[in-house]
């Protein structure tokens, strides 16, 4: 029995929830950013898998994946810029410390 769609979806689902878990539990912003990357990549895997197994003659899924990778790169750049600025102000990258605008 080879690797089918189901197995790949299991992997991507696991990856997605690992990402969500990381996003919700970590206080370090860099770690949270990495968790978001995990979520995005689990989506990418989904797109590729559906494209390959269900619509092998089309390329729509691949295009989406390329777009998501691009967006993820841009997002990482912006996020890291924000994190660096926060670090300069607070000497910390703990998300709980950035609460000046809370009240």
């Amino acid at each position: 029995m080879g690797i089918g769609l189901t197995q790949i979806l299991f992997v991507s689902t696991a990856l997605f929830f690992i990402g969500v878990y990381g996003f919700l539990t970590r206080r370090n912003m860099i770690t949270m950013l990495m968790a978001i990357e995990l979520i995005l990549n689990s989506i990418n895997i989904n797109f590729i898998a559906f494209n390959k197994y269900l619509y092998a003659d089309k390329l729509d899924g691949l295009f989406f994946t390329v777009f998501i990778i691009t967006i993820a790169a841009a997002e990482a750049a912006v996020a890291i810029a924000i994190i660096i600025n926060l670090y300069r102000s607070y000497k910390s990258i703990d998300i709980e410390d950035a609460d000046t605008m809370k009240y």
Binding site: V20, F23, L24, T25, I95, E96, D99, K102, Y103
Partner: protein
């Protein structure tokens, strides 16, 4: 020829003066404000004299009848093509006479106050208020429509309130000011409703049109007499309600309770507002609408007559027992205004029957002179002995000769001794009463005798009786809490000059040929003078004076023994027949407890309660859910993800079910 601009300047000078003092003068040149106010009133007085001369002797009379002239009129508010409120100036004999009286007395009071109020802390404010009052009063008498008169009516009420409460650091003055304002406000409610009734049926607010429509047989007159409410016609209601407004301002029973308390104000103010001008506004109002009262609804006029005579008699009795000299004068004012009122009440319209109207206006004129003089004289006395109480006075005739002589003239005038001013006007009132209602006549003549008694009780107590010891003259709180020391002179020239002028006028004002100038229909009214008729009133007045002489010339036990003899009556009169107590009982016990408190309870618990409940529920809810908004990003994400998962489960459930 009458110039409209000059007439307009008469009320405008004082209001400009008021604005100047209020906005600039109070801070920039406070010492000069008195002179400024006096000059502006002098200007007004000169203009009034010119206008009066021109009106009475040059332009007013056409074919032997004094016309009503409207030199200025402009539309102020237009409600619909037919109904509008105009502002204008109406000149007729009574308004011309009134502007003359108001500006003259006001001028005297202004001059007097230059000395009397000197050194007062709020000297400039005082003159500002006086100017405001003079403006309002002039506006009131010159009003050409009934709504305009209402506006100025309220304005004189406000300025009276401000001046009664002038010494606002004294609780009694504050209470008196509030009392005056609230009592007259109740009366004004009646006045307003009366205006609305009259205006609704006649379809106009203008005096001339209103009087024409309600005295000649027109549709409007038909409508207002046929409409009835609780057994009285709408016309009767309207006129009685208007009279209630007038009775409030003129301190007629039972709305008189504010006037004696109003004596808390500075004495010159009492002379101007609470003796000579504002309190006769009610008489003026009835006189203004007199044709309607007289021709269309005589029963309303009867109400005026009986309220007038009762107030007159009532006040005369109370005045005999009071010991505060200003209160005696206040009750005497009420009594004399009662005279004017019932004189209007017994009068008819036109020709011979208009005697009462003429006499009422005549008495208004002479009363303004001698009552202002009495108050200013009393002011000088109070200024000298620093007390309002009779027991602190006595033997002042040598110390204050000018005050003594002028006060004596005024007392003789008010007692109706010939040839002083009061004699002539009172005589004509009595004659008018004699011709139409004998009962009123007898009460009036009795009142005249009592008047002579209490005025001379006042006179002898102040100027004769015991000799004033120096110790008595210095101690005691000054009426105004004057800071300056006790001076042994009568007062400054500015205080004595008005006394002398008014004294002279009280002597000669009776010789003014009033019947030729001010009558109900504008035609000349020749009054016959019967010596035989005058005998009885003069004898009675003399008897009153002799009695007072006997009681109060020298300090003795007679007044006390008489008072003891009439114990119940005396103490009732001394307590002003418990009218104040009745008012307090009705308001505090009945109105407050039975209406006020339940209403307050309803307001606090039901109306406010509903609102408070809504607010409380909102607040509680917000408190309990505000923890959700923690500001923590990851908590929000949890909500978001659990929401998404919840939806996913929901969709799966539905999808499974088919």
């Amino acid at each position: 020829m009458l110039s409209a601009a000059l007439i307009a300047l008469i009320p405008l000078l004082p209001i400009f003066c008021f604005l100047l003092i209020a906005l600039l003068g109070k801070n920039a040149f406070p010492k000069f404000c008195g002179v400024l106010g006096t000059l502006s009133i002098l200007g007004s007085f000169v203009l009034s004299a010119v206008v009066a001369f021109q009106y009475f002797f040059q332009v007013g009379k056409v074919n032997g009848i004094y016309q009503q002239l409207i030199p200025i009129k402009f539309e102020w508010l237009q409600f619909s093509p037919n109904v509008s409120i105009d502002m204008g100036i109406l000149l007729d004999p009574i308004s011309v006479m009134m502007i003359l009286i108001v500006t003259f007395i006001s001028l005297m009071v202004h001059i007097y106050s230059l000395g009397y109020m000197k050194g007062e802390e709020r000297y400039a404010t005082y003159y500002g208020f006086l100017s405001l009052f003079t403006f309002s009063m002039l506006g009131l008498v010159l009003s050409s429509n009934i709504f305009q008169i209402y506006i100025f009516w309220e304005l004189v009420g406000v300025s009276s309130y401000l001046l009664i409460g002038f010494y606002f650091d004294r609780p009694s003055a504050v209470a008196a000011a509030k009392k005056a304002f609230i009592v007259t406000r109740f009366a004004d409610l009646g006045f307003l409703i009366g205006i609305l009734i009259l205006a609704f049926y006649s379809g106009t607010l203008d005096f001339q049109t209103l009087i024409t429509r309600l005295t000649t047989p027109t549709d409007q007159l038909n409508a207002i007499t046929s409409a009835s409410f609780m057994g009285m016609s709408a016309l009767m209601w309207g006129l009685v309600l208007v009279f209630i407004g007038g009775a409030g301002k003129s301190a007629m029973f039972p709305l008189h309770i504010w006037l004696p308390d109003a004596m808390e104000g500075p004495t010159p103010v009492s002379a101007l507002i609470h003796a000579a001008t504002m309190v006769v506004a009610g008489v003026f109002l009835v006189a203004r609408l007199f044709p309607v009262y007289s021709l269309s609804c005589h029963s309303a006029l009867d109400v005026v007559a009986y309220v007038g005579i009762f107030s007159s008699f009532f006040a005369a009795i109370v005045a005999c027992t009071q010991t505060d000299i200003k209160r005696v004068l206040a009750y005497s004012t009420m009594s004399q205004i009662g005279y004017m009122m019932f004189a209007l009440g017994v009068s008819g319209y036109g020709g011979e029957h208009g005697l009462g109207y003429m006499a009422s206006m005549f008495h208004l004129f002479t009363h303004a002179m001698f009552k202002a003089l009495l108050f200013l004289g009393a002011g000088a006395v109070i200024h000298y002995v620093h007390s309002n109480e009779m027991k602190d006075m006595g033997g002042l005739r040598k110390l204050m000769p000018i005050t003594h002589i002028t006060f004596l003239i005024a007392c003789l005038a008010i007692a109706g001794i010939p040839p002083f001013a009061g004699f002539f006007s009172k005589e004509e009132i009595l004659q008018a009463a004699y011709q139409s209602n004998k009962m009123i006549f007898f009460v009036a003549i009795l009142t005249a005798a009592i008047t002579a008694f209490y005025m001379f009780r006042l006179y002898f107590s102040i100027f004769w009786n015991k000799d004033l010891t120096p110790a008595l003259s210095i101690n005691g709180e000054g009426e105004n809490g004057h800071a300056h020391g006790h001076s042994k002179s009568e007062g400054t020239g500015s205080m004595l000059m008005p006394l002398i002028i008014l004294g002279t006028l009280s002597l000669i004002a009776g010789f003014v040929p009033f019947g030729k100038l001010v009558t109900s229909d504008g035609k000349e009214l020749l009054t016959e003078f019967h010596i035989s008729f005058s005998v009885a009133p003069v004898l009675l007045a003399s008897a009153g004076i002799l009695l007072a002489y006997n009681f109060y010339k020298k300090e003795n036990e007679k007044p006390q023994s008489v008072a003891d003899g009439l114990k119940g009556l005396y103490s009732a009169a001394y307590k002003k027949f418990y009218i104040d107590e009745i008012y307090l009982f009705v308001t505090k016990k009945l109105v407050f407890n039975l209406i006020g408190r339940p209403a307050a309870w309803f307001d606090r618990n039901v109306v406010d309660g509903t609102m408070n409940m809504i607010a409380t529920v909102t607040e509680k809810t917000s408190y309990s859910i505000k923890a959700i908004q923690s500001g923590k990003l990851q908590q929000y994400s949890i909500y978001f993800f659990s929401g998404v998962i919840g939806f996913v489960l929901l969709f799966i459930y539905w999808w499974k079910r088919g």
